[in-house]
């Protein structure tokens, strides 16, 4: 066992995975060599067709074989219908032992992903999170996988791909419109999902790229997100996804007074900061508190007479409303979180699709996060060291995904984690998070209904403390919030785990922030 700088105990090696322990949020230096890619040069002749009659034909043509790696985007979230169709076609061809590497495994209910693991079609998973039946099964030991899952935040996936740690053999890209030569987009067609931000890195670096669409348009497809020069095959399917389910439940404004109170306090913190000035930038996200916070922020901006240079990341209808009101100059969408946001890119010149790698990868020449002033993040748990858990529930379920959380916390000048101190009987401000996902040193501020706590170890602590004091915002110590939560819920018994590591949580630089161990079966 070794300990990383966050005090998390890690095995030195897990199977053939050699653990590089997390050191600092600054990250390890990049490799100096060229990026690794599987993309090959081709010489397409006039008249050559890319359109394949069925998915199975395309998969066969792409040469998918046992032991290879496949990838998908999760832009349709729980409305996705592409992954299920592709896996069914792969199974029909008898291909086994695949590494499944989508940008995230969401809780897909239109088919059972777990069955593909149990029948050996999929033998390992690498994603930003594994929600649903498969994730719960893995953590509880009901579903066993030979290799632990590797969980990476959004910024770490492109880094891992270009570092050669995650080489994709065949990328499947569901696009809401495509022409028969592979030019495609998520912005138009019968079922638009908006930004295809997650798929750029796959298209640029996979060995073979297959585009699935339910809306085949005449050549050339316009607008274009992913260009024909990266695409090997195109397949027409009946339906790739349901855009109405992208933001299921998330897109409405909460009426919960507790969440509204937290959201308003987040807006107060932002408005109190010296960085809240003309041309500032922000990211709020898609949780109930986040959307409410966006609304409060819009009010504060109006009152103060400031507009934002850009809003970033997963974009919601609330952000598009602000754009339409002239409050934001540019909306940089790495993902579209609801149907309104999905349709906004095609109709508004300042609402643009961006490559997820350009949003969050710390290891490139770009990175919008390096210019972000405020990032608002949700969390399942925060501990008194400000470490954040966004993966595992306190009863040992896979509750969430890393998403861009660790990236935004490290990138934004001021990162704000907003959450209630208890949920039901579960305290969410704790002594030690069950799974550390975002290192505490990158969290500037925690906002709860019971007060605002600043992190003394954050780079901009003095600045923020001064600004909040000047604005007359009361501050509490994180330990007080933890004590208060505990006084309400009682002291929870620690979750007992076995030694078996079922998932590895990587940081932006590929070092290990934590591992998830299998929960001990507590049947009497």
């Amino acid at each position: 066992m070794i300990k990383n700088s966050l005090g998390r105990e890690l095995p030195e090696q897990i199977g053939d995975y050699v653990v590089r322990p997390y050191q600092t949020a600054q990250g390890v230096p990049p490799s100096t060599g060229p990026v690794v890619t599987r993309r090959t040069a081709e010489h397409r002749q006039r008249g050559e067709e890319k359109l394949q009659p069925t998915l199975a034909d395309a998969i066969r043509a792409a040469g998918l074989a046992d032991g290879m790696t496949i990838s998908f985007h999760h832009s349709f979230r729980e409305g996705d219908l592409a992954v299920g169709q592709v896996l069914a076609a792969i199974r029909s061809l008898g291909i086994k032992n695949l590494r499944f590497a989508p940008s995230a495994v969401v809780n897909l209910k239109n088919f059972s992903l777990a069955e593909y693991v149990q029948d050996g079609t999929i033998t390992s998973v690498e994603a930003s999170g594994i929600r649903g039946e498969l994730g719960d099964g893995i953590i509880n030991g009901i579903i066993t996988m030979e290799k632990p899952a590797i969980l990476r935040p959004h910024g770490a996936r492109p880094r891992a791909i270009e570092a050669g740690e995650l080489q994709i053999d065949v990328a499947f890209i569901a696009a809401s419109a495509a022409d028969s030569y592979g030019n495609c987009t998520g912005q138009i067609g019968a079922n638009p999902c908006g930004s295809l931000g997650y798929s750029f890195v796959d298209a640029h670096n996979a060995g073979r790229v297959i585009v699935l669409t339910d809306t085949l348009v005449p050549y050339p497809c316009c607008p274009v997100s992913i260009s024909q020069q990266y695409v090997d095959y195109v397949v027409k399917v009946d339906e790739i996804g349901d855009p109405q389910k992208i933001g299921a439940g998330a897109a409405r404004l909460t009426k919960n007074p507790r969440d509204l109170m937290i959201a308003e306090q987040v807006a107060d913190v932002i408005a109190a900061s010296r960085r809240f000035e003309e041309g500032f930038s922000f990211q709020t996200g898609a949780g109930a508190i986040s959307i409410a916070c966006t609304k409060f922020l819009a009010d504060r901006m109006k009152t103060r007479g400031v507009t934002a240079s850009f809003a970033l990341g997963g974009i919601t209808a609330a952000i598009i409303e602000m754009y339409d009101a002239g409050q934001i100059r540019a909306v940089e969408c790495s993902q579209s979180f609801d149907a309104v946001a999905a349709n906004a890119i095609a109709s508004r010149s300042g609402v643009v699709e961006i490559d997820n790698a350009d949003y969050s990868n710390a290891y490139s020449k770009g990175g919008f996060l390096n210019h972000l002033d405020f990032g608002v993040l949700g969390a399942l748990e925060v501990d008194t060291d400000f470490n954040v858990n966004i993966l595992t529930g306190s009863s040992g379920q896979m509750m969430g995904g890393l998403g861009g959380g660790p990236d935004v916390a490290a990138g934004a000048a001021i990162s704000i984690v907003a959450l209630p101190i208890v949920r039901g009987r579960t305290p969410s401000i704790v002594r030690h998070v069950f799974t550390c996902c975002t290192p505490g040193e990158t969290v500037a501020c925690v906002v709860t209904q019971a007060g605002i706590a600043l992190n003394p170890r954050h780079l901009r602590y003095e600045e923020l403390k001064q600004d909040l004091r000047n604005a007359g915002l009361p501050l509490v110590a994180i330990e007080e919030l933890q004590q208060l939560a505990q006084s309400i819920t009682g002291v929870p018994q620690p979750i007992a785990t076995t030694e078996k590591v079922v998932a590895i949580v990587e940081y932006r630089d590929g070092t290990v922030v934590d591992v998830i161990r299998q929960i001990k079966n507590n049947a009497e």
Partner: protein
């Protein structure tokens, strides 16, 4: 005190607990617990339930709990209500006054 009939208190809403209290032929307390926070608070919940039964001096009971993350004070209140219904008594509101005076 003796349980006369089966009684229910509480709901299946989040942060609530539904408690069913039944007479038990055999001697003793039997608790069946289903909780979303069983791993962390199972023993704590059973402790609160037993305390409430002791408060009314109930020796024999079958208690079925469907907990949706209720706080301790909620569990206690729901237990008191279920006991009053099951024993066909009214709650003695002066009880706590007496305790406070002591």
């Amino acid at each position: 005190m003796k349980i006369i009939k089966a009684a229910v208190a509480g709901t299946l809403e989040s942060s609530d607990i539904r408690i069913m209290l039944c007479p038990r032929e055999e001697h003793g307390i039997e608790i069946e617990l289903d909780s979303v926070v069983k791993a962390q608070f199972g023993p704590a919940i059973e402790h609160t339930v037993k305390q409430a039964l002791a408060e009314f001096d109930i020796q024999d009971a079958f208690v079925q709990l469907q907990d949706k993350g209720a706080l301790d004070c909620v569990i206690k209140a729901r237990m008191q209500c279920a006991i009053c219904r099951a024993c066909e008594i009214t709650y003695d509101w002066t009880k706590e006054d007496a305790q406070n005076e002591q």
